[in-house]
Symmetry: C2
C-alpha cells in the first residue's frame, strides 16, 4: 500500500490515458475518423511529402492512399507529383482543409487551456509537464543554429539572465556585463545554437567571434527540466564543431563559482583554467581550449 514508484507511475499513466482519450474523441466530433484527422493534422503541421507523413503516422501505403483519396473527395486537400521526382507525391491543404486544420488546433488548444485553468498552480504544473515530456521523449532533442535575436533565442537568454540573477551572490544585471552584440554571434563572426525539443527551445549556447582566431563561448543555458540528459555536453560539442568550421583556433569562456555544474563540465571536457582575460564584474573563473 505504500505509494511506491511504480504505483505512482501507473496512477499517472491512468490519468493521462483518460485525458488523451478525451482529446481523441473530441476530434471525432468533426465527423471524420481519427485516421483522417491525423493526416489533416500532419499536413497542417507542415509535413507535405506523402512518404514522410506515412512514416510519421506509421501507416501502410494502401491505407495512406485511401485516406488521402477520401480527404481529396471531401475537398480538404490536393495532391500533385513531387517536382524533383514524379513518383513521389506531395499533399497540400485546400482552403477548406486549412479551416479544418484550424478547427482541430482550436480543439486541442481549448482542451489545453481548460485544463491549465483548473490547475491551482499552473506554472508549477507546466514545469512538471515539461519534465515528463522531456524524460519520455528526451532522445529527440535537436540542436539547431538560430539568430540570437529570434524569439526562441531571446526566451532562452531571458531565462539565463534570470537564473544568474538568482544564483550569483551579487545578483546579475546584463547591462553591467559585457553583453555581446548580436552580430558577434552570427556567421561569419560567430554563431548561436539552440536545443529544440518538439519545437520548443530548451537550451542555448553562443559563440562570440571577432573575426580573429580566438572566440568566446557565451550564454550556455539548459532548461531546468532538461538537465541530466547530457544536453550541455552536446551543446558544447556542437559549438566546438561550429568554431572549427569557422576556422577558430582557440576558445575561451568565463564563468562563476556559483555554477558548479558548469565548472565541472568544463574541467571534464578538456578546458584549462587560465588567468582573467576581461574586466567583466561577474565571472571569477576563466577557461581556454585549443581546437
Amino acid at each position: 500500500m505504500r505509494p511506491d514508484s511504480i504505483a505512482r507511475f501507473r496512477r499517472f499513466a491512468r490519468a493521462v490515458t483518460a485525458e488523451v482519450g478525451a482529446l481523441d474523441s473530441s476530434f471525432l466530433g468533426r465527423g471524420r475518423p481519427l485516421g483522417a484527422a491525423r493526416v489533416v493534422n500532419a499536413i497542417g503541421a507542415g509535413r507535405t511529402d506523402v512518404a514522410e507523413i506515412r512514416a510519421y503516422l506509421g501507416l501502410d501505403s494502401g491505407l495512406m492512399s485511401r485516406l488521402l483519396r477520401s480527404l481529396e473527395e471531401e475537398g480538404l486537400l490536393t495532391t500533385e507529383p513531387h517536382p524533383d521526382d514524379a513518383r513521389r507525391r506531395v499533399a497540400r491543404l485546400t482552403e477548406a482543409g486549412q479551416r479544418e486544420y484550424s478547427a482541430y488546433e482550436d480543439l486541442s488548444d481549448a482542451r489545453a487551456s481548460a485544463l491549465l485553468a483548473r490547475a491551482p498552480r499552473s506554472e508549477e504544473l507546466l514545469r512538471a509537464m515539461d519534465l515528463v515530456a522531456l524524460t519520455l521523449g528526451g532522445d529527440r532533442i535537436a540542436i539547431e543554429e538560430a539568430d540570437p535575436r529570434s524569439e526562441a533565442a531571446r526566451f532562452c537568454l531571458e531565462a539565463y539572465y534570470g537564473e544568474l540573477a538568482r544564483r550569483l551572490e551579487t545578483g546579475f544585471d546584463v547591462k553591467l556585463s559585457c553583453d555581446p552584440e548580436a552580430e558577434a554571434m552570427v556567421r561569419p563572426r560567430g554563431t548561436f545554437l539552440l536545443a529544440i525539443a518538439d519545437g520548443l527551445p530548451v537550451g542555448c549556447v553562443g559563440l562570440k567571434g571577432g573575426g580573429g582566431p580566438v572566440a568566446e563561448v557565451k550564454r550556455l543555458w539548459i532548461d531546468p527540466a532538461a538537465r541530466g540528459f547530457g544536453l550541455a555536453r552536446r551543446l558544447m560539442q556542437a559549438v566546438e564543431d561550429a568554431a572549427r568550421d569557422l576556422s577558430i583556433a582557440v576558445l575561451r569562456l568565463d564563468t562563476n563559482i556559483a555554477l558548479p555544474e558548469a565548472l565541472a563540465l568544463y574541467r571534464r571536457t578538456g578546458w584549462v583554467e587560465i588567468a582573467r582575460f576581461n574586466d567583466d564584474p561577474y565571472p571569477d573563473h576563466f577557461f581556454e581550449k585549443a581546437l
Copy 2:
C-alpha cells in the same frame, strides 16, 4: 515561437500519447485484442459487477456481452447471477484468468520501471507525475476512514513529520511532542481519515478523543502535489462530521506560526483562537471550535 503554456501542454500531450500507445501495443503481445485485455484488467482490479465494468470502460451492452463470452470460452473467467438481483451478473477470474491478469500487471510494471530507470532524477520525475495526475483527476479524491497504524497512514504521518522538521525553526522530533497513541485515533474514542487518490494516500487528519466531549484535531497533512484543490478543507469538514457522529461537543487543535496556510484555513472556517491548552514544545497557536 515563444514556448507559451499551450504549446508546452501540447508537447506534453504528444509525449505521453506515444508512451500510452506503446503500452497498449505491448498488451497486444498476449494474443488478445485490447478490448478483451481491458476487461480482464478491470475484473482483476476488483470490478466484478458486469454493469460496473461496462460503465467504467464505456462499452455497449452487446459488445460487453460478447467480450465476456469470448473470455469465458478462453477459460479466463466465469460469470454467475448476482446473489441479490438475478438480473445482474458478476464476473470472476479463474486461476488462468488470474495468471493472465498478473501477466498484464507485469507488463505495466516493467514499462514503468524501465521508464523510471532512464530518468536522471527519478524522485523529481515522480513528483511531477503526481502533480499532473492529481490535476487531471483531482476531482476523484476520496476520503476514507483508516487505522492510523496502517501502512498508508504511516506513509502520510512520516511525510508530515518530515515537513514539520523542515518548516519549523526549531526542527521537529515526534518523541518530544505529545504524539497521540493510536487507540485515541480509533473509534470509539476518535478516528483517522485518509484522502485517497486512485489508491494512493495524498493526505490525512486525525481526531484524538479521550471518551469525553472534547477532542483534538491532529496531524492534518496534504501531499504537496495535491495542494490547492481544497483538500484540507474537505478533510477538516470530514473530521468535524466524524466528531459529531462520535458525540463530540468541542474540538481543539494546536499549530505553529510557520504553517500560515493552516492558520488561514482555521481562521476562515470558524475556529476561534484560545489560550495554550497543553505544554507541547512545538505549537504556538491554539484554536477551538464548538460543534
